[in-house]
Structure formats: C-alpha cells, structure tokens
C-alpha cells in the first residue's frame, strides 16, 4: 500500500516538474536560474495558459532556447522579456502590465470591494426605527378581527 502511494506520489511530483529538457539547461547555474525565472513569466503562445517553462510545445521549447541564448549573449532579464514583448506584444506576459487598458483588471476587484463596503456600512447604519414601532390601536383592532377566535384562548 505504502509502495503504491509512494509511486503515485512520485508520478505526481514528476508531472509538477518543468518541461525543460536536460539538453536545454545552461551550464552556469546562476544563468540557468535566471532563465527559469524569465520563463515562468512568459506565456506559451501556442497553448496560451501555460508558461513556456512548463509547456512541452515545440514553440515553447524554442522560446526557452532563445531565452537562454539571449542570457548567454549578455542580456538582462528585462531585455530578454522586452525582446519577446516586441514580437508577441504584452500578450506574451503572464502577469499583465499595469496600463490604462488593464486598470479595470488590476483595480476592478478593489473597486468592487470598496463599493460593497460602502453598501454594507450604509445598511448597518440604517436606523431600525420602523422595525420596532408598536402597532396602532387601529391596526390592533383589525388584527383582532382577522384572527380566528380560538387563537386567543390557546
């Protein structure tokens, strides 16, 4: 039983691992670490909801290679990302940039939270006056006439 669960666990861990193949890895661990960081922010443009770091698509593989090639050529992280953005647009970034176009995306949730807060505060503040008011004599009489007789005796 333990063996089976270990096996399934190891399979699960294996799927969590990145798609980077041994042949792609840079020799310098510091540069490779940078490549990994950059790759995790770039979208695989074929699969659209994966990073190029975790995608097995051939284009993602080629993009990873290009990222490492640019790093080896001395580019900073920002330059590598800019290189991709110049060709694929902001679309290639998995974390959208804060621009007027994306304000709604970034600040919309905060706006909704604030609006909701305002509504809650106003509801809480509303005086409970008309809830606690006693019935007038007129209303009591009408109620009496509506309720069946036996209700009073019970």
């Amino acid at each position: 039983m333990i063996k089976v669960s270990l096996l399934t666990l190891s399979l699960f861990v294996a799927t969590l691992a990145q798609a980077v193949e041994p042949g792609e890895v840079l020799e310098d661990p510091a540069l490779e670490a940078r490549a990994r960081v950059i790759s995790q922010d770039l979208r695989c443009v074929v699969c659209q909801n994966e990073t190029i770091d975790e995608s097995n698509a051939t284009l993602a593989q080629d993009m990873r290679r290009l990222v490492r090639q640019r790093i080896n050529a001395g580019d900073t992280n920002e330059q590598v990302v800019a290189y991709m953005v110049d060709r694929y647009g902001d679309f290639v970034l998995l974390r959208p940039r804060v621009t007027p176009q994306t304000w709604l995306l970034w600040f919309g949730p905060i706006l909704i939270l604030v609006l909701g807060g305002v509504v809650v505060v106003r509801v809480m503040k509303r005086p409970a006056s008309n809830v606690g008011e006693a019935l007038s004599q007129e209303e009591l009489d009408r109620l009496d006439s509506l309720l069946p007789e036996d209700n009073e005796t019970s």
């Binding site: 074929v46 051939t58 284009l59 993009m63 290009l66 647009g89 679309f91």
Partner: protein, 186 residues
C-alpha cells in the same frame, strides 16, 4: 421620503448590472461570429521592419531567405510546414497566386525536416520563390508567429503591412489581401 426613493433605485441595480453583462457578452459573441476570434493574438509587428533573416535554403533549391530579399518589392512571406494540415488546405490558393504571378511569394519552412519539406512540395506543387529553413523557430519567433500557416504582407521597403493568421481563404484573398497589395504598389 428619501429612504423610499433609494429603495426603488437599488431594486433596479441588479437588473442594470445583468443588462450590462448581457450587453458585453452579446458583443463578444457577435464579434466572434463576425470573424473576430478573440483567441487570435494581435500582431505588434504591423508597420515595423521585417526581422533580420538569414535562413538557409532547402537542399538543392537555390537561395535561402534573407532580409534583403524582402526589400525589393511588395511580397508575401508564408510560414508553413509539411506537418501542417491547415497549410495543405491553403495550398491551392497559394498555387493560384503563383500561377497568376500576382506577387512574389516566399516560404519559411518552419520546424520541418528539409527532405519532408521537399517531398511535400514535390507532391503538392511548389508556389514559392524563395524558401528559408527555420528548424528552431528562430524566424518564427522573430515574426511573432503562434501557429502555421501565417502569412505576412511586406511592402517594398521591407515593412510588415498585414498579417493573416491561419489558412488564407479565397474570400480573404479577394477582399483583403489582393486590394492591399494593389494599394501598396501605388
């Protein structure tokens, strides 16, 4: 009374929100039906010079494809591969374009085995003037390509003027690409 007015107004609010959402979703649906696929990636390369290219030719097929080749005349650059089914669907139209000699048509053999590319061309016909090999997506990434086929219309100065994603239909050719070529030639 203010409280009563406010109540009337707030009771309309959910309806307004729903109406707004329905409007937004309906617009997107109509856009998709009208041919504006939201999953298409817009190209940021429009009106920018073609990327630097120096692609090797297919074996025994003349010259490869270089940037300088795209600065001579209005031309089309078609990204394709023998593995690409949609390219086969598009192919008759490209053959037609070549037969009419409408415009220089260059190919980029994307991530393809050169012998497979050549076999594919021998079987289906070869509409291309120049073909460059792009085995590791160097040119494809430089062109911001996300899938094959994609076709770029380049003007005589080597500036990208239009990008067509997916197979070119007869309609797209007649209505959009052919008029654009005419326009760019003037």
């Amino acid at each position: 009374m203010a409280a009563v007015n406010q109540k009337r107004w707030t009771f309309l609010l959910p309806i307004l929100i729903v109406a707004l959402l329905v409007g937004v979703f309906a617009k997107r649906l109509i856009d998709v039906k009208g041919g504006q696929d939201p999953s298409l990636v817009p190209t940021v390369l429009l009106d920018t010079p073609v990327p630097a290219l120096d692609l090797p030719p297919l074996p025994s097929r003349g010259e490869g494809l270089r940037t300088a080749d795209l600065k001579k005349d209005v031309s089309l650059v078609n990204i394709w591969g023998s593995w690409c089914v949609a390219c086969l669907a598009e192919h008759p139209l490209l053959m037609n374009v070549a037969a009419e000699n409408a415009v220089p048509l260059h190919g980029i053999a994307w991530r393809d085995d050169p012998s497979a590319s050549l076999r594919w061309l021998a079987r289906n016909g070869d509409p291309y003037d120049l073909i460059g090999q792009d085995p590791v997506s160097e040119a494809a990434i430089a062109f911001g390509v996300t899938g094959a086929p994609e076709t770029f219309l380049v003007d005589g100065d080597g500036v990208i003027r239009y990008k067509h994603t997916g197979p070119i239909s007869r309609e797209a050719w007649d209505k959009t690409i052919a008029p654009l070529i005419e326009q760019l030639r003037q």
